[in-house]
Symmetry: C2
């Protein structure tokens, strides 16, 4: 007797049972279809890269979390996001790409983080980015929220709000307050507002050596609220004539107009001056997205505009804009909150059940007709009684069974039973296909 | 000026340009849709696993090729196939799965092989397996070729032939020749027949210490050919009464009958006694698949039946049957031979071009209508002349452009141009949608 190895998976990693995997894949496919509908092209890159390539820009936390190892003489790392591989890809293939280059990339990334709730060491990111050559039109700053809107409408997980800000508005305002040398730190603190509250933010700003009077100005500034038009008006009325600030407000104003052109309803997006995004990478419009009824999920889709994607690899200036959806985390959250709607257990729409062995060839033929008509189908071959056969059908959650016995064979029909309780009828295969397909459409 | 890192990827790894990625994804989706149509459920497992779990069974070559490293105290390895993770998954989740368990898994695996043509260190496998509890009906041995048939018909890459054998036929015959202690070695040698030729096979068999007379019997045995029915008749007429051999022939006979029930035409499959598959893992029916006009591709889809999937993890006996398509390699071969048909460069079906800035809101609105109708659409926003705009449209390979200028805006229409040369017509958005969708269907 050989020794058994205990079957187990690494801490911080996860896998799904088939029914959940089906629901997860359905979400993946919906996101992908919206990305493609907006003209984003697919790419995929290797999971392993040269460490110096992946870490060209990184440092600090990223470097600590990365999976990195040697194979022979080669210093190898696993990708920890999809942005660095995009930069490397664009830098390498620049001459073969048409700009603006719109790409989507939906794939797993790896971070050796301390395992904790909501943190995964392997997770799927669904990214889109639009990369311009030298310049990138401001309209794309509105197209991105249009994509977010269409994705989350398609996912159908409840009302959501896209929150929009512009780093130039913040930066320009802080410059005007004489905080030019502290802008990055101030933004980092403000970004934590929702998490730590206004008092803690004041404290942290104070620790940066900022006067109380100035802190009050910052707090009252980021507290500006109202409809998009009201906020733009308030920002214009604030009396700040810093050039960057004014340019940022003009951008916000234009972006709001374009978002409406894209057909995003006003109650699905809002301006929010507290959105700063931690990364100093962003230079213009920034986004976060919250599910209205589940703010505890945090932002389910974030991103923004940046000036220079490939600076670590080439001299060519390639500005871009992009967002990311962390699908592994979002799916886990939806599952935990019972918010997964597309929770069908079965990949098939009909299970063909031969009454006994003699009916097997007819069952195989019926299955072939179903499949040829595009109906996912399986056949139950085990020689068991009707009870275990129906028990299996129930267990796999199939919506229909098509039973074939002597009389059905004689008539070239099937006894079609709706497993959700609508009784049973003896029909031709063609009729069975129509019944099954119509149910599908109405779901 | 910061130092630049040269953008490059690791040897033995590959990535595609977007147009190729589109064609690759189309193949991936077709394979997936056939797998689902036959009722296979999706799973995915972590790319990283505990080394002792992944290597429970491995040894020799596998162990040398694996990517393995330590992170903290943990000995981690990257999956090198999808079968071992399946065994681990089934062993772990047995109580949550319904048997027979049909699963597909289409994902990347990693092997640190010496880089050479046709060998990849990262490649996508498209696997299906059917796992029974204690037993697994012989009909599945016929369902697998039915799946292969439907997959390759769908891929539309030319006539192919599924070659089928049964290890019990070979093993029983060799037992009868008194070679019971050498069966694995003999099979390994025979499996190389096509590669090294009959003389080299004879030499290698001789090196195993087999008499010349016996070698001649082996060679003449594996040379048996003809239609499936002729070959079954020849095997029955051979006068070998070894029990395993006879059981194997009965299995082959029954499987051929069922394959016909599944609707696979006779010229798409054949019996071939030279197919042995190197792995001693297989215990019954085995498969290889060749493209008739490209035999140099080797087998594009292989697999077989095995007695015990999870022996290294549990005592429960779980027999199974499965096949694998190496999509990364197949795609590269098809590309090299110019056999990729679905070679459209563009993810979008129409590019909306506003004549000038004033037409942009109308262009955005038109794009929205196209997208809402399910037509993948993009808008060209850059303020350039008509010539560079059309040049861009040509470059991205979009089939239609919809131009919007002053007169189109006034009429609420678009000037729809077929980029393949069918001229231009001014039509309503609704008509444009119909024209584009009809073209799509007829492709």
């Amino acid at each position: 007797m050989q020794n058994k190895v205990e079957p187990r998976i690494l801490q911080g990693f996860s896998e799904l049972l088939p029914s959940d995997q089906l629901a997860y894949n359905a979400m993946y496919d919906k996101i992908r279809s919206v990305y493609e509908r907006f003209g984003f092209l697919p790419i995929d890159t290797p999971v392993l890269e040269y460490s110096d390539v992946l870490l060209a820009k990184a440092g600090g936390e990223t470097e600590k979390q990365i999976y990195r190892f040697n194979k022979g003489d080669t210093d190898i790392a696993m990708r920890f996001d999809l942005t660095v591989p995009l930069a490397r890809y664009v830098a390498m293939h620049q001459n073969d790409l048409a700009f603006p280059f719109k790409r989507y990339h939906m794939a797993k990334v790896y971070r050796g983080e301390r395992p904790q709730k909501g943190r995964y060491r392997e997770f799927c990111q669904c990214d889109i980015d639009i990369i311009g050559s030298d310049t990138l039109d401001l309209i794309y700053d509105a197209e991105i929220p249009a994509v977010i809107y269409n994705v989350f409408k398609e996912l159908d997980i409840g009302k959501f709000t896209i929150r929009i800000n512009n780093r130039r508005v913040l930066g320009g305002f802080f410059d005007a307050l004489g905080l030019s040398d502290k802008v990055t730190d101030v933004m980092r603190v403000i970004d934590k507002l929702e998490k730590i509250g206004v008092d803690a933010v004041k404290q942290e700003l104070s620790k940066l050596g900022i006067d109380e009077a100035v802190i009050e100005k910052i707090i009252s500034f980021i507290g500006i609220c109202g409809s998009c038009d009201e906020m733009i008006a308030s920002l214009r009325a604030i009396g700040c004539d810093n050039e960057k600030f004014c340019a940022g407000v003009d951008e916000l104003d234009a972006v709001v107009g374009y978002i409406r052109d894209f057909g995003v309803p006003d109650d699905y997006f809002t301006l929010d001056l507290t959105i700063a995004r931690g990364l100093d990478y962003y230079t213009g419009t920034v986004y976060e997205t919250k599910i209205d009824n589940a703010p505890e999920f945090g932002s389910v889709c974030s991103g923004g505009r940046y000036d220079d994607l490939t600076g670590y690899y080439t001299d060519q200036k390639l500005p871009g804009i992009g967002i990311s959806i962390g699908l592994t985390r979002l799916f886990a959250q939806l599952k935990e909150y019972g918010m997964i709607k597309d929770d069908r257990k079965s990949v098939i729409d009909v299970l063909v059940i031969p009454m006994d062995k003699t009916a097997i060839p007819s069952a195989i033929e019926a299955a072939r007709s179903f499949r040829d008509a595009g109906v996912p189908t399986d056949v139950y071959y085990l020689e068991k009684g009707m009870k275990p056969k129906m028990k299996y059908a129930n267990r796999i959650g199939v919506p229909y069974v098509a039973i074939i016995g002597e009389s059905e064979m004689a008539e070239n029909k099937v006894a079609l039973r709706n497993m959700l309780g609508d009784g049973q009828q003896t029909v031709s295969i063609t009729d069975a296909i129509n019944i099954i397909k119509n149910t599908e459409d109405s779901v």
